[in-house]
């Protein structure tokens, strides 16, 4: 058995290492950003890990659900976290992975009544729900009520289709969509970790590119 390493790097050492990988100019932008992730399932939990590792300064994590055994094949939770609120479990895991990212959690269902308040402080919003109607609700709401915010949504990552059909499309100035826009879980019948993670990586990468002022896809 390896020993548990109790000493973690200092905040300064952590930041320096990130600057060496990303460049200081870009890292400053990542570190000063606040990103909201709506839904902490296969998409949201993977987006969160990618953004925390990249040194995004603050993540707002929103989900009403608890970790279930059926989540573990594709979501960033552990076998001993079944039954725990996803907000709590993910916040714990992120703290171990990237201890200097600030995490704000809200264990609630996002609705038309609370979304503006929950998302007000975010620079960029990721839609990472599994339900198509919830995806549409949040998209309409953010574009109508919070038109100044960038919104990165997802649609179509179910099944065993090719990895290469998942892409990012800029729909309009503030709206980006990731996925193949076709593969419905209710038709395909499956969600496979690698394909869902590809879509999550598209969303996370779109967020990081926006923070780095790269707006075209």
């Amino acid at each position: 058995m390896w020993e548990v390493v109790k000493l973690i790097p200092t905040k300064e050492e952590w930041y320096k290492a990130l600057c060496e990988r990303h460049g200081e100019d870009i890292q400053k932008k990542f570190t000063s950003a606040t990103v909201a992730i709506c839904g902490l399932g296969g998409l949201g939990s993977n987006i969160a890990v990618a953004l925390a590792r990249a040194g995004v300064g603050k993540l707002i994590l929103i989900d009403f659900d608890k970790v279930d055994i059926s989540n573990l094949h594709r979501q960033q939770y552990k076998a001993n976290q079944i039954g725990v609120n996803k907000t709590e479990a993910l916040s714990h895991n992120l703290c171990e992975i990237a201890p200097f990212t600030t995490v704000e959690t809200h264990c609630v269902r996002i609705t038309e009544d609370n979304a503006e308040q929950l998302l007000d402080n975010a620079d960029i919003i990721c839609e990472a729900f599994d339900d198509a109607e919830a995806k549409a609700m949040l998209t309409n709401l953010v574009l109508e009520k919070m038109p100044s915010k960038y919104l990165v949504v997802s649609s179509g990552m179910a099944g065993m289709g090719s990895a290469n059909t998942i892409k990012t499309r800029r729909v309009s100035k503030k709206l980006y969509i990731c996925g193949d826009e076709v593969s419905d879980v209710n038709v395909e019948g499956s969600l496979v970790s690698s394909r869902v993670m590809i879509c999550a990586a598209h969303q996370a990468h779109t967020v990081l590119r926006l923070l780095a002022n790269k707006f075209e896809v």
Partner: protein, 64 residues
């Protein structure tokens, strides 16, 4: 002509609601942008499509 998701259609003069009624889109699973701005769902019936409009219908499928 009105461009919908890149395809030119002869539907100028119709409202967004009238156009959607001719399609298979599920109104609960879509967002509609016209010339880069969201069309609020409450205004689908009042929003006339004009010659030269560029419309994007984003239709969501489940999974995540």
């Amino acid at each position: 002509m009105v461009k919908i998701n890149g395809e030119k259609l002869n539907i100028a003069g119709k409202t967004v609601a009238e156009y959607l009624a001719t399609t298979n889109y599920d109104p609960k699973r879509i967002a509609v942008e016209r010339n880069g701005d969201i069309v609020p769902k409450s205004q689908y019936g009042d929003t006339l499509l004009c010659d030269g409009d560029n419309v994007e219908v984003v239709s969501f499928v489940g999974g995540g």
